[in-house]
Symmetry: C2
Subunit: 751 residues, 2 copies
């Protein structure tokens, strides 16, 4: 489907600006950082899921001649002196610090306990073995429902909340609880002809980015701290390190190196404060790297969860009421994405009577973190499966059911916000019109499933500056780290404004000292917000260039017109000059031209996708094969269609992995038994068909080019779409993720 | 003397922002660049001052297993295909290219002939010996006056200029000639009671920066070229490399590393194109370093010169006419700073009748380049010595003579420009009032000399952007490489505007992709022009912050006042908030604040200094000891007085070295025999008294804070002041530099 406006650059598919560097290996990632006398840092981690730390003896490690610094939580006292009260959520400073280096207790296997810097990595690893930690092993809370029970082991002895998440005299593992209500649920269910309610379980899954975490730091004698790291947000990393080290934010410069994937997992800092402390102590630059095992055990996966959804509908397919109970594992510290889960559980639909009851629960697992549409896939798995069951019960096509119930402009979500223009129905229509949906699906144990996925998208803050080069190109300076092609999608928006080719924009992602504040590349906001800033900065440049043309022609700037990359003056004498030629005349018209813009927009525009999947189940082995997969999604306006398609494909594939294989497998002591890419089974190209994509364009009124974020939505629908397809293939409803061969066989009663 | 306005930050002496990094060794200079698989480059240079290159055989070097690339002038064909006509001066592209790698002929000892990149520096050096060059040695033109003779060996066979510098059928070594005339010189001399004329000779002197040249390059598969180097101007280096390689300017990113001195000598590129070519050919990153010998023999020293000055004056001390003949050695290619010499030769004085005749002459020596007030010291040595002789003849105090004849606002220079407000007389008065000038000077062979030095200063182009941090500091982004404390002097101007401490500004010198065009740190323009841009960018920030305050208070922005770092609203309700507190509220008032400014101002404001020196001459050894030295100088407004004093001291010391010891010593074949810091005798702390400085502040009307450039002026006066002091000590007039022990003894008739 085409957008409403005609563009010259937007909607084309130029080669990404960082492409050649990345495919030829020239791009510098965090691990590539080098410096004279660079030390290597390594981290000692708890082998126990829950243990009191009675003592840490670092003396032997410190005595090793190759070891230049050892740090423990004792070195984080600046922040701990400012310890804030417990129970205040994700920004709790003590929690942030304790997750960097465990203080009284180790709260999960992999929890950092100490770090060393040595003259090489081998010695650093040796030195870890010289650190003697005396642990008192404690029983662990390992699963959300068990952890909510009154007699569960307490992750935090003094997290004083009751089962309602309210302040209490008594401690519990419930960090917080909140509810959303809309209409009259009881009345709604009473109006229903069909009411179904089921509980759904999802496992802990990791973002699985290819590049492990890394951080290098140089802490100079005057307290100026430079950090080189692969992060989704350099300013965010700067802010976190400032808090954790209680060091002025302006004395920290974060240099964002290239990043090999993040998906939300590279927003929180882990190694950065350690590298800084080790550098401060050793007086040298220090690089700290994680192993893959560290990444699994010590960073922030998506929470395991228990979600129960109850939906009522009339026989003619109208939803009358919906209710959800959502309990997410926060991991070792409060702050799961349960809030986002609650935003998404019912939002594709117009629901007049709704109720959402949400819990954030601490367990002895790594502190969870954002993972692509965090929380949304957990809840969509439940909602979209229950809807499929209702459709089956009332004998209605599931896409027709969605066409009937989809939310539209002006409808309010159960959690409050009212939709501006949104393309929910349009994605359902695109799925229904796609040949895939009407294609015959023959053969044994084959089934087709559909599901929709919703993500609200976020609008954060961004800054962009633009400089005009004498050869008619522009240099675009941005603070958004480029994970998935955002250099291109941002550059193209500036190019569109100035009527120059995308290749004439040279985008550079700079450090935190060199551009205005810019939020994380996350929340699907980058192409939206930083693109918005690029649009505005380009408008600034356009205005200045019109003044230059006016000066050149000795006319009034208000009489200069600009269209299709050409400045024109038609009032009496005819003059025209294109952007490139005018850029070559800056010296004679007043010198360099530099423009900038900062934005903090408010209308990111929700995005929805509807997915159709065909599967074949091998009932002997329990293996599910994806035969065909089609994903439709509203992109608002696809700036660079290839990267939108890539995002849809990538999200779908992560969702497929999550649906069929991925999960943290713990032993009874809370130790992860599959912390490698061999055992943590992500899909590869051998497991997948080509993911077919359909970009729907319903322009977002909150962006000058109509952009909506596209990165997160596509991970939301796959789990339910595949569960529904499995049901239609073999007649069993899967309500626990992953739907791995073992669980399939179990559902079939074969084991 | 104090300036007219009161400032809070300007005029104070904060620690420079880059200070701690530099004294602790953390600052990264060009030679510190590292990269995976980095190759080391070295350059093969001509041993002959003048030789035809009949062939270059690189096959053995290329066959060496450790050698990854070899380049010769054959690799510079892109530019040579675009060869421009000869005789067009400094911008001549063929000359630029040929100076990078000699083509038909080697024109000076040290002229680059080939370059290699190898896996380490030792192999690279070995490989140089494997390159076979067949030279046909030619007679060399080695001295400006000899080179101007009709039968002199021709440096360029086809530089077709006559002795007037005009196009001609016949070739010569005179690249160009120009004249300035004012009034009626014959009439002026006729009115004089005293007319004196003398010829003066100066040797070739090097800037002597502590850091040798360096360049690293990474030429990527898509033609994106990154260069890391220690340069005075990253954009200038970018532009030169673009021309030499015929590569788009926007496909070149120059990353300016810290720089260990430049003084004008690090404006031209030498190694940068070689590193780029070697990287392109090898597919790897390449670092090329010069040895100290390379620096002396192959970079751009200040020209040797012959200057004859004739001045007429009345017995009551009024100059009636002045005439100068100036011939500068350009080195191997046209383009000495003789133009600047002509600007300076008479400019401290009001001269109604003047004539200047100037020649640019090629010789078989390295192409000369800028060296701190280029050309000015050559000519001042002549003028200021002749004036001292006139004062002696008419029995007038030399400072009184200058007070009588100094140029003032409204006076025109012989070369044309009319002075705006200028502090020439004020520096003479400051010297006269200084206790030094009236202190008794007793003892044998001791004498006191004075001289004035003039430099017009330049205004180029600069860009600055500023970002506000949430802790109330600002990040200042600039393109001016910081050689002598300009981070501080620029930051302080922004701090003054915003009413925040200098320490609250975090200046960063960024690469050419990350800020607007900014000219070289040279021409004493940086504190002036980039400071001007910082002032304007800070004004931009101030305006935006006033809008934020207005938003916070829900009032009209035009009603917000700002003074002393505090935003105020007094219309009805009283509100006030300081910059820091307001910076903490950006999120709630609209997001990040970023400002920028580009400037191309036109009123740099000339600067003059008057120096007083006491010397003692050892008539047995010929050694001249500097006993006391006082330098006064008009700074317009000294932003950071310590760095102004440092500039005055540094300039004076370089002038002292030039006066007493420094010179290139050539053998008769044109080979330099003293290309080391042991033999090229620069003054050390053991040779010098403390240089006493007096900052005079006559605000420059062409700058918002009254700034004048201060870096170059102080090198102009020392040679003549010392020559005059030597005369007053031992009664001989020295007319050749350096006034080394041998020449003193010769002048005394002792050898």
């Amino acid at each position: 489907m085409s957008a409403e406006k005609e563009y010259k650059v937007i909607g084309t598919r130029p080669i990404r600006h960082d492409g050649v560097d990345k495919v030829t290996g020239r791009a510098l990632y965090g691990a590539d950082f080098q410096a004279a006398g660079l030390l290597q840092g390594r981290v000692l981690r708890s082998p126990h899921a829950h243990a009191r730390i009675n003592s840490i003896d670092t003396s032997q490690a410190e005595a090793h001649p190759g070891v230049k610094a050892v740090v423990t939580s004792e070195d984080l006292t600046a922040a701990q002196d400012k310890m804030v009260n417990l129970g205040e959520g994700a920004a709790n400073l003590k929690f942030m610090c304790d997750n960097i280096l465990a203080r009284e207790k180790a709260l999960y296997q992999g929890h950092a306990v100490a770090a060393v810097a040595a003259i090489n990595g081998h010695i650093a690893e040796e030195a870890l073995e010289l650190i003697k930690v005396e642990y008192e092993v404690l029983p662990a809370a390992l699963e959300v429902r068990a952890a909510m029970k009154k007699d569960a082991p307490l992750v935090h002895e003094n997290l004083k909340t009751d089962e309602m998440g309210k302040k209490s005299e008594k401690s519990s593992n419930i960090a917080s609880r909140f509810q959303h209500k809309k209409g009259d649920v009881d009345k709604g269910f009473a109006e229903a002809d069909v009411v179904l309610e089921h509980g759904f379980v999802t496992g802990t899954v990791h973002q699985g980015y290819i590049e492990p975490h890394n951080a290098s730091a140089s802490y100079n004698a005057d307290g100026e701290l430079t950090i080189w790291c692969s992060t989704q947000g350099s300013f965010n990393a700067r802010g976190q390190v400032a808090e954790i080290l209680q060091h002025p934010v302006s004395k920290i410069k974060v240099v964002p190196m290239e990043i090999g994937g993040g998906f939300g997992g590279k927003i929180s800092v882990y190694l950065e404060p350690l590298a800084a402390l080790l550098s401060k102590k050793s007086g040298r630059s220090v690089k700290v790297l994680m192993s893959r095992e560290d990444v699994f055990e010590s960073t922030g996966p998506n929470p395991a969860s228990y979600v129960s959804v109850k939906i009522g509908a009339t026989n003619d397919g109208r939803i009358t009421a919906a209710e959800a109970y959502i309990a997410f594992e926060a991991g070792a510290y409060p702050g799961s994405p349960v809030g986002a889960g609650a935003m998404c559980v019912f939002s594709p639909y117009k629901i007049d009577n709704g109720f959402i009851d949400a819990y954030d629960v601490v367990v002895n697992k790594p502190k969870t973190n954002a993972y692509r549409a965090p929380g949304a896939a957990n809840v969509a798995f439940a909602t979209e499966t229950v809807i499929d069951e209702i459709c089956e019960k009332i004998g209605m096509d599931p896409l027709d059911f969605r066409l009937l119930n989809s939310a539209k402009e002006g409808d309010a979500r159960v959690d409050g916000p009212v939709f501006p223009r949104v393309g929910i129905i349009e994605t359902v229509e695109a799925a229904k019109e796609h040949p895939h949906y009407s294609a015959p699906l023959e053969g044994k144990h084959r089934g087709r499933g559909v599901a929709s996925g919703f993500w609200p998208n976020f609008a954060f803050k961004s800054s962009v500056s633009i400089n005009v080069n004498p050869d008619g190109t522009i240099s675009l300076v941005e603070g958004s780290t480029d994970i998935g092609g955002s250099r291109a999608s941002i550059a193209m928006q500036a190019a569109e404004v100035l009527g120059i080719p995308a290749e004439s924009v040279h985008p550079t992602v700079v450090d935190t000292n060199s551009v205005g504040f810019t939020d994380v590349t996350g929340g699907s906001h980058t192409t939206y917000t930083t693109g918005y800033a690029a649009h505005n900065a380009a408008q600034d440049i356009k205005g200045q260039m019109m003044e230059r043309a006016a000066k050149l022609w000795e006319v009034d700037a208000t009489e200069v017109e600009f269209a299709d990359g050409v400045f024109r003056y038609v009032n009496g004498k005819e003059e025209e000059i294109d952007f490139k030629a005018l850029a070559g005349k800056l010296d004679q018209t007043g010198g360099p031209v530099m423009g900038s813009a900062t934005v903090a927009p408010s209308g990111p525009g929700a995005s929805i996708g509807t997915h159709v999947v065909d599967v074949e189940v091998d009932t002997d082995t329990g293996k599910v094969q994806i035969l065909r997969y089609t994903a439709t999604q509203d992109a608002g306006k696809a700036i660079h269609p290839s990267y939108v398609e890539g995002q849809i494909q990538g999200g779908a594939v992560q969702g497929i992995g999550w649906a069929l294989n991925e999960e943290y497998i713990y032993n009874e002591d809370g130790q992860m038994t599959n912390a490698s890419f061999l055992d943590y089974r992500m899909p590869t190209c051998y497991d997948l068909p080509m993911i077919d994509t359909v970009i729907v364009e319903v322009p977002n009124p909150g962006h000058p080019f109509g952009v909506r974020g596209v990165g997160e939505t596509p991970i939301v629908a796959p789990t339910a779409a595949i569960a529904n397809a499995i049901y239609h293939a073999i007649g069993v409803r899967m309500r626990e993720l992953p739907m791995s061969p073992g669980r399939i066989l179990k559902a079939l009663g074969k084991i």
